[in-house]
C-alpha cells in the first residue's frame, strides 16, 4: 500500500550483527596464530576474505539509498569497481610483489566505467535536475492554487455577498415603510427575494470553490458537513489529531464530495461510510457504499479526481463490483 522502507534499517541492523561473528572468528584466528608461534601473519587472508563481501554490500547499499533509476546502476558499478581495485591492492601488498600489477585491473575497470553509456549521457543529469525542478514547482503551484481559491472564496463572501446582504437589508427596510403601498411593496419584496436567491447561489459557488468550514475546522468537520448535506445516509469514521496541508485537505475533501455525489446520483437508496485515517505520513480516504455497484470507473468525474490526487503523488482507486457496492479509495502523501 505505502512504499516506506523501514526494512532497510532492519536489514542493516541484521548485517551489523553479522559482523560480530566475523570479528570473533578473526580474533580466534589471531589467537591461534599467536599460539602457534606468531610466524607469518596468515590471518590477514581470511580477514581480506571477510572484508570483500562486507565492502561490496556497503557499496551496493550506498548506491541503492542515494541514487534512483539508471544512475543507481552506474553508482553500483562504480562502487563494485572501487572494491575490486582495493582488493587487488591489498592482495599485492599482502603478497609482497615488487611489480604494482593492480594498475591493470584499475585501468580495465576505469575503462569499463568510462564505457558505461551513462557516462556519455549528460542528458541524464539534466533530466534529473528537470524532474527535481518540476516536482518542486508543481507542489509550489498547487499550494499557490489552494491559497488562491481560499482568497477567492473569502472575496466572494466579504465582497459581492456582503454587498448583496446590505442591498437585501435595505430592500427589507424599504418594504417595511411601504405598508401603505402594497403594489410597490410587492415589487420591493420581489427584488429582495431575487437578492436573497443571488446570495444563496454565491454561497453554493463559494462552497464549491473552497468550503469555509474546511479552512476553519479541518477535514473531519468539513466531511461531516458534507455528510449532513448529502441526501443519502452517510457515516463518517475518522479522527485526525492535527491539521494537514491545505492542498491535501482540499483534495481529500473533493474526493469525498464527488464520491458522495456519485452515490446519491447512481444509488439513491444506498448508504455510505467515509473513513479517514493517517497511515504514517499518508492520509487514507475511503468511501464505501452498499449500492448496486458496477460503476463506470472511467467516468469524467472520477478521472478529474484521479488527476487531482495524482498531482499530489497520491493514488486513487475505484472498486465497483455488481451487487456488492462501490469503494473509492485514495491515499495522499502529506509531508
Amino acid at each position: 500500500m505505502t512504499d516506506h522502507r523501514p526494512e532497510i534499517n532492519l536489514r542493516s541492523v541484521v548485517r551489523g550483527a553479522a559482523f560480530v561473528p566475523s570479528l570473533v572468528l578473526l580474533a580466534a584466528l589471531v589467537v591461534i596464530w599467536a599460539a602457534t608461534g606468531a610466524g607469518y601473519f596468515w590471518p590477514r587472508w581470511p580477514a581480506l576474505g571477510l572484508a570483500i563481501p562486507t565492502a561490496l554490500w556497503f557499496a551496493v547499499r550506498r548506491a541503492r539509498l542515494r541514487y534512483t533509476g539508471a544512475t543507481r546502476w552506474y553508482a553500483t558499478q562504480a562502487g563494485v569497481s572501487v572494491v575490486l581495485v582495493c582488493t587487488c591492492v591489498a592482495v599485492w601488498w599482502f603478497s609482497g610483489d615488487s611489480f604494482f600489477w593492480p594498475v591493470f585491473p584499475f585501468v580495465a575497470l576505469s575503462a569499463l566505467l568510462a564505457l558505461n553509456p551513462l557516462a556519455f549521457r549528460p542528458g541524464q543529469r539534466k533530466l534529473e535536475l528537470r524532474v527535481d525542478e518540476l516536482t518542486r514547482t508543481r507542489s509550489g503551484a498547487l499550494d499557490v492554487q489552494a491559497s488562491e481559491l481560499r482568497r477567492i472564496e473569502r472575496d466572494l463572501h466579504d465582497g459581492a455577498q456582503a454587498r448583496l446582504v446590505a442591498l437585501s437589508m435595505q430592500l427589507g427596510r424599504a418594504e417595511e415603510r411601504l405598508a401603505d403601498h402594497p403594489d410597490t411593496a410587492a415589487l420591493v419584496r420581489q427584488a429582495r427575494e431575487e437578492a436573497t436567491a443571488a446570495i444563496r447561489e454565491l454561497r453554493d459557488l463559494a462552497r464549491g470553490i473552497a468550503p469555509p468550514v474546511l479552512a476553519d475546522r479541518g477535514l473531519v468537520a468539513a466531511v461531516e458537513s458534507l455528510a449532513t448535506r448529502s441526501t443519502i445516509d452517510v457515516e463518517v469514521v475518522g479522527q485526525l489529531d492535527h491539521r494537514l496541508p491545505p492542498v491535501v485537505e482540499a483534495a481529500a475533501y473533493f474526493v469525498v464530495a464527488e464520491s458522495l455525489t456519485n452515490v446519491a446520483k447512481h444509488a439513491p437508496g444506498a448508504s455510505a461510510v467515509v473513513t479517514l485515517h493517517l497511515d504514517g505520513a499518508m492520509l487514507v480516504v475511503e468511501i464505501a457504499d452498499n449500492g448496486p455497484g458496477g460503476a463506470n470507473t472511467a467516468g469524467g468525474g472520477l478521472t478529474g479526481l484521479k488527476q487531482r490526487v495524482e498531482a499530489l503523488d497520491g493514488r486513487l482507486e475505484v472498486h465497483s463490483v455488481a451487487r456488492e457496492g462501490t469503494v473509492v479509495w485514495a491515499v495522499l502523501p502529506c509531508e
Binding site: L164, I199, A221
Partner: protein
C-alpha cells in the same frame, strides 16, 4: 415612547452591514449601545456595556475564520446571562452543535440574509434577547434530515406535511402566533398540530414556548450526528 429596555451590541467587520443593521434595529426600537468590528472588540464591549444581547458575525478579523463563534462562546462563558445571536454567510452543523452546547437559552444562529426579512428578524432578536432560541431554517432542516436518516425516521414519517412544517417552525424557535402567521392558519390550527406532533413523537407536553423548543431540539439532536 414605550421603548423596550433591551440593550444590544452589534459586531460586524463590514461597515456597510453593521451600519445597516444598527439602522434597522433602531427603526424597530431596539437600542444598539455599542458596535465593534472584530473578536477582541466583541469581548471588550460586552465586558464594558453588559448588554442583553450580542449580535455577531461568524467571520471576523483578525483571523477571518470562525473568530465570531469563538468570541461569542467566550463572552457567554464570562457572562452566562448574555444572549448571543450569531449571523453567518453559511450554516455549518459543527457551529450549531457548539452554540447549542453552550446552553440552549438565549442562542440564535441565522444566515446573514435573514436580516432582510425585517419583521421575522426583529422577532428573532427579541426572542433570543428574552432567553429564547432562533435557529435558521437551514439549520433545522439539517437537524431533521439527520434525524430522519438515523434509522428511527419512522416517527417523523408519521407526521403530516403540515405537522412537519409546524415542527420545523417550532425548532426554529417560533411562537404559536408566529407559526400561525407564517403558515397562514388560525392559532387553533397551530395548537392542534403542536399537540399531534408531541403525541406522535412521544415528547413531554411543554406549556411554555421555550420549553417546547427545547423538547423538539433535544428530540432532533438525539442522534449520533450533530
Amino acid at each position: 415612547m414605550g421603548r423596550a429596555a433591551m440593550r444590544v451590541v452589534v459586531v460586524e467587520d463590514q461597515a456597510l452591514l453593521r451600519e445597516g443593521m444598527v439602522a434597522l434595529l433602531a427603526e424597530n426600537e431596539i437600542e444598539v449601545v455599542a458596535q465593534a468590528g472584530d473578536g477582541p472588540g466583541l469581548l471588550r464591549i460586552v465586558d464594558g456595556h453588559k448588554p442583553d444581547l450580542a449580535i455577531c458575525d461568524v467571520r471576523l478579523p483578525p483571523t477571518f475564520t470562525d473568530e465570531g463563534i469563538r468570541a461569542a462562546l467566550e463572552a457567554r462563558r464570562r457572562h452566562p446571562d448574555l444572549a448571543v445571536l450569531v449571523l453567518s454567510a453559511y450554516v455549518e452543523p459543527v457551529y450549531t452543535a457548539e452554540l447549542l452546547a453552550a446552553g440552549q437559552s438565549g442562542v440564535g444562529y441565522l444566515l446573514k440574509e435573514r436580516v432582510s426579512e425585517v419583521r421575522t428578524f426583529v422577532d428573532s432578536v427579541k426572542r433570543v434577547a428574552g432567553g429564547g432560541t432562533a435557529l435558521d431554517r437551514e439549520v433545522v432542516s439539517a437537524l431533521i434530515a439527520d434525524r430522519n436518516r438515523s434509522g428511527d425516521g419512522a416517527e417523523l414519517a408519521a407526521l403530516t406535511p403540515r405537522e412537519r412544517e409546524t415542527l420545523e417552525l417550532i425548532a426554529q424557535g417560533r411562537t404559536n402566533a408566529a407559526i400561525a402567521r407564517e403558515m397562514v392558519v388560525t392559532l387553533g390550527a397551530v395548537e392542534k398540530h403542536v399537540s399531534n406532533i408531541f403525541t406522535k413523537l412521544n415528547l413531554p407536553a411543554g406549556d411554555d414556548d421555550h420549553r417546547r423548543v427545547l423538547a423538539v431540539l433535544a428530540y432532533l439532536r438525539a442522534t449520533g450526528g450533530q
